[in-house]
């Protein structure tokens, strides 16, 4: 049995144990909130599903969704990159580091602007 | 063999940069707190003085070169290129331009320094120095330009600056009118210059439009074209150098501050025409007929201006007419193909005319801006330095040996005689006598006799050092400048003419010692007669004379200004009025107004399409796309 297999096996087992543990812990210790909005059909801040179309509604959820999309695509980009990493060599590595760093600056900006604070 | 030296470009650049800096300083502060006059004065003098030192450097580098290699050039950048023609912003220093450079920067610097004192207390002090620097810079471009086009830049520059400076005290309408007159008359001359330049280019400009190429190709110019070019260029020269028929602006140019008059008359502007003719000596040498005309016009101008000069009341106008008269000599000189003699007179004239003007300025300031000589008198005791220097200047102007003016004027008269222009020579001698007369008339009336205006006399006092020191320096120059071109009969070697030889195309006439002695003797006799008449009439206290008959005619300058006004200005105004009243409103305005109205109606109609609805705009796009697709698909089939 090669070292890589042992390592990856350990990672998978570790993850398999860690994820349920975290879920349980959050269920036990996390704050709870309930109410009408929580039970509404959409969780995106649209509280009233029927009625006039030109009413105001919160965009916070969409903002987060778009931010998620950016980092999601970052992950998507990394798949083809990882496949051809050997051909790309050091230059390819640097390129990806630059890419991630750019997104990181974006993340810092978002954090400082308080976009992630759910007010 | 042309040597490339890069510092050449800095000579005009320094005063121009000075003008820019001073102008910006003045503009920035003209409404708020004023910058001290001292700062303006120092900054204003730096550029000209530095240029003078660089001119010295140019002169000595040229001297260090073999005679036929005395050409320094520098191309700063390509100014413009159209088709086959490249016009570089190029500078050329050869013996001719080096001499011009030297005295332009030298006299110019002195005038700048003098202005520090003269302009004291003027509200537009900074502006004055900015203009003065610009003036000098333009003149340096004119002198240093390596071809007619660059020369033209400087040519127009000095024209503009003369306008700005003559009308400098623009509160007085007559000053503004004088500035306008100078500008308009100069424009007429400029037209001649531009046309001449055009013909010259058409003739031989294809193989390079700088002096050296033109000189090499000059023999390819056909005689008729050559004559046309020479005459047109001379029209330009008559404008700038105040010759018949365009001399009328120069006496009026006295409206400007006195340093400006000195600068215009001595160092810049008026010498430009003579310089230009000498510069194109390779053309004039091919067309003797043109030279003949130049010489005659020059001598007639000298005569006419000398007559006018005898009747003037205004100290500056006397000097102004003397300048016109001396310029006539210069043109007579270059006209009879004695280019070096003409340029030599330019050179000596720069010293004594600057001196006379600055001295006159000193008198004017001492009497609180009084310019009428009949209000002066006996000032010898009050203004000793001014008197002495002005006397030296007067002697030089009148052609008293051994002062500077004597040698240069004699050189011209001798050249005229030796080349067979006996009549021109005779007029020249008469004019020399008249010059001596009006010069000493002025000096006697102003400095001798008794004071005519006792109150002004009592308040008069000698000018400050910053004004008298330039006077003394110029006086020294006026005494000794003539020895630079001492002819053989006085034991000299005509160094000046030899120095200029590489730049000019001229043949020195050989008339023999007899003719030379005749010329000298005639000049001296004319001088003595002129001075003695002036002495008899004016050394004793006399009141302002009343002129009658021919004298009245002369006093009113032969009514030339009135003639021009009646023959040219009035009909011109009449035609203008006729057009503006009859043709303009009905033939031009009506259709233009109608089409304009129609156009505006169309525009208002089009506003409808800018409805402001996004959906409408999107529909426009779709329609556009559809039409385009339709057209494209049709072209496919």
């Amino acid at each position: 049995m090669s070292a890589e297999l042992v390592l990856s096996g350990a990672v998978f087992i570790g993850l398999a144990l860690a994820i349920p543990t975290i879920m349980v812990l959050t269920a036990v210790f996390g704050p709870r909130s309930g109410g009408e909005a929580k039970n509404a059909p959409y969780e995106s801040g649209i509280t009233q599903v029927v009625g006039m179309a030109d009413q105001k509604f919160s965009v916070k959820f969409y903002l987060l969704a778009i931010l998620f999309l950016i980092f999601d695509i970052e992950a998507v980009f990394m798949y083809p990159w990882a496949v051809s990493l050997r051909e790309l060599g050091v230059f390819g590595f640097i390129e990806m580091v630059v890419f991630i760093l750019l997104l990181l600056t974006g993340l810092i900006y978002i954090l400082k602007k308080g976009v992630l604070n759910w007010r | 063999m042309v040597h490339n030296v890069s510092y050449l470009g800095f000579i005009p650049l320094l005063p121009l940069a000075g003008a820019l800096i001073l102008g910006l300083m003045y503009l920035a502060t003209c409404q708020g707190k004023q910058i001290s006059e001292r700062l303006y004065g120092i900054l204003g003098c730096i550029g000209p003085v530095l240029s003078f030192f660089m001119a010295l450097r140019v002169f000595f580098s040229l001297r260090g070169l073999p005679e036929q290699e005395r050409f320094l050039s520098h191309v700063a950048y390509t100014w413009f290129s159209t088709g086959e023609l490249d016009i570089p912003m190029g500078f050329l220093a050869d013996p001719l331009s080096a001499i011009m450079l030297l005295f332009v920067t030298f006299v110019g610097s002195l005038i700048h320094i003098y202005s520090i004192g003269y302009m004291k207390g003027d509200a537009r002090y900074g502006k004055f120095f900015a203009y003065l620097n610009l003036f000098l810079g333009s003149m340096l471009i004119l002198v240093l330009g390596d071809g007619p086009v660059v020369m033209f830049v400087g040519w127009e520059g000095v024209g503009l600056c003369s306008y700005l400076l003559i009308g400098f005290w623009s509160d007085d309408r007559s000053n503004v009118m004088a500035g306008n007159k100078a500008f308009i008359v100069n424009r007429i001359g400029d037209l001649g210059f531009v046309l001449g330049m055009g013909f010259l280019f058409w003739g031989i400009g294809a193989d390079g439009f700088d002096y050296l190429s033109l000189k090499a190709n000059a023999q390819n110019l056909t005689a008729p074209v050559g004559l046309v070019v020479c005459l047109l260029l001379f029209v330009g020269a008559t404008g700038k150098s105040a010759q018949i028929p365009l001399y009328v602006w120069l006496p009026d140019a006295m409206a400007g501050p006195t340093p400006v008059s000195a600068l215009i008359h001595a160092a810049t502007m008026v010498t430009a025409g003579v310089y230009m003719v000498a510069r194109f000596s390779f053309l004039y040498a091919h067309v003797p007929a043109a030279g003949e005309i130049v010489a005659w016009i020059g001598m007639l101008t000298a005569l006419l201006a000398a007559i006018f000069g005898m009747y003037q009341d205004d100290i500056k106008k006397i000097l102004a007419y003397s300048t016109v008269s001396q310029l006539g000599y210069m043109f007579a000189g270059v006209g009879v193909a004695a280019y070096s003699a003409g340029i030599f007179h330019v050179f000596t004239h720069a010293f004594f005319k600057a001196l006379l003007f600055l001295a006159a300025g000193s008198v004017i300031i001492a009497l609180h801006h009084e310019q009428n000589i009949w209000k002066m008198g006996g000032l010898r005791s009050k203004l000793p330095t001014t008197y002495k220097t002005m006397l030296i200047g007067g002697l030089a102007l009148a052609g008293c040996p051994p002062f500077a003016g004597f040698f240069s004027k004699d050189e011209i008269l001798y050249s005229a005689l030796a080349s067979g222009h006996v009549l021109i020579w005779m007029i020249g001698v008469v004019v020399a006598g008249m010059t001596a007369y009006y010069t000493f008339r002025m000096i006697f009336v102003v400095f001798h006799g008794t004071p005519r205006d006792q109150e002004a006399f009592d308040h008069a006092h000698e000018s400050p050092k910053v004004m008298t020191v330039p006077l003394v320096i110029l006086a020294i120059g006026s005494v000794f400048a003539g020895f630079y071109n001492l002819p053989a009969i006085f034991g000299g070697h005509q160094k000046f003419s030899h120095w200029l030889a590489p730049s000019l195309v001229e043949h020195h006439p050989h008339g023999g010692v007899g003719l030379e002695i005749l010329a000298v003797a005639a000049s001296v006799v004319a001088f003595v007669i002129g001075v003695s008449i002036a002495y008899r009439k004016f050394s004793v206290p006399v009141a302002e004379p009343v002129y009658k008959g021919f004298n009245k005619f002369g006093y009113h300058k032969f009514y030339v200004d009135e003639l021009y006004h009646t023959v040219i200005v009035r009909p011109y105004q009449f035609i203008g009025k006729a057009i503006s009243r009859a043709i303009e409103p009905f033939v031009i305005d009506a259709p233009v107004q109608a089409s304009g109205w129609l156009y505006r109606m169309f525009g208002l109609a089009f506003k409808v399409f800018q409805a402001g609805y996004v959906k409408v705009y999107a529909i426009y796009m779709v329609i556009g796309l559809s039409v385009l697709s339709l057209l494209v698909s049709q072209s496919l089939n």
Binding site: Y109 | Y599, F606, K607, A618, M621, V632
Partner: protein, 470 residues
Amino acid sequence: MQDIMAILPLLATCAGAILIMLVAAFETFRREGISILGIGLFAFAFFVQLTVENSSPIMPYSAIFNGMLVTSTFTKAAGLIILACGFFSAIAAQTYFTQNRWFVLEYYCMMLFAACGMILMTMAAELITVFVALEIMSLAIYTLIGCDRRSVIRSEAVLKYLMLGAFAGAFFVMGSVFIYAGAGSTRFVDIARAVSEGGFIANPALVGGSLLIMVALLFKAAAFPFHAWVVDVYDGAPMPVTGFMATAVKTAVFCVFANVLLINTELRDGWVGYLFWISVLTMFVGNLIAIGQNNLKRMLAASGIVHSGYLIIGLVAIGSDTVSNGAVIFYLAAYAASTLGIFVALSYLGGEDEKRIRFDDFNGLARVRPYSAACITIFLLSMAGIPPTAGFMGKFYIIAGAFKHGFVALGVLGIISSILSVWYYLRLIISMYFREPQEEFGVSEMTLAPLGTFALAAAVFAISFIPVVI
């Protein structure tokens, strides 16, 4: 490494944008500081662009990044114009914010991002890259227009631009798809090869694809019949943004337009016939819209349409010789200097909330602010094409190029249009010089915009001395 060197200005702009973004996030600087930083970064990027060695002529392509990008003296000149426009718009913005009491820290960041997209666009040699660049630019511009969120006018403008821009963007993507179907690649080099092998007319996918791309580019260039948004959007945008849009965006779009037409002479010739009519209609419709306006900003927007018409005249002859290529970029420089000059001047003359914007509001300006009025006159004369300004030289080169390549009718119509345009340019000069002032012009605080105006006025003359051959 060569490739990296070639895109150094792009990287500098991008790094500058990110720097300002972070600075804005940490709120290290206040308004004044961040303004100076933005101006400085534009200046820095300009000098980086200036130092990039670039001697290759416009044809053939000197491709970098595997043919994704192209660099030439043409792209370099366009980059310089864009960054200079950014610099002066930033100066205008600094003053504008001093007067207008609203400010967003990210303003300069968005400007730099927009410049980044524009520079990428000038260098793009591949359709997807063009699209990405176009969107980087457009998104930043949308944000800039709408950054004053309290204002309804700004929101309306950004909505119009966003919707129509997205519409045009869709055309572009559709066109790219068609071209990919026809040529099997999105790189310009391969498209050119496909055209020269198979022929242009014979390949309907290429024809349709290039039609759609042309429409998208004509939309961004504000050419008839895709011009309608211009007046409303320019009017709605804040003054410095309008100036930036009118100059830098136009430069970038025309640069990429030229690059697309340069793909292949056969492709270009296929389009010249249509561009002829589009150019003529653009000029005349622009003129007609402009004369009806009483609002200065709307007039300038409409005159921008007219100038697009001239530039399209320049495009019909592009690629045939170096002078024609140079003429377009020269015109862009001349136009940018004069148009931006007016917008910079209006930024500080307009007063709070751009209340001074109609022709009549400028009555008697020459008496109150003579230097500013003189500068505006210079800009207007340059736009009208009166010698000795750069605008005249630009028109001269463009129309001379049209004559030289046999488009005599186009040249003549260009001259006629130029004469018609004098109408509305002179109107402002008349207002400024020959009318009595109605109200007092407040003298604003000492800011940079007047200096920028003077610099641009000087540039209007300086540019006319630049030799046109690229």
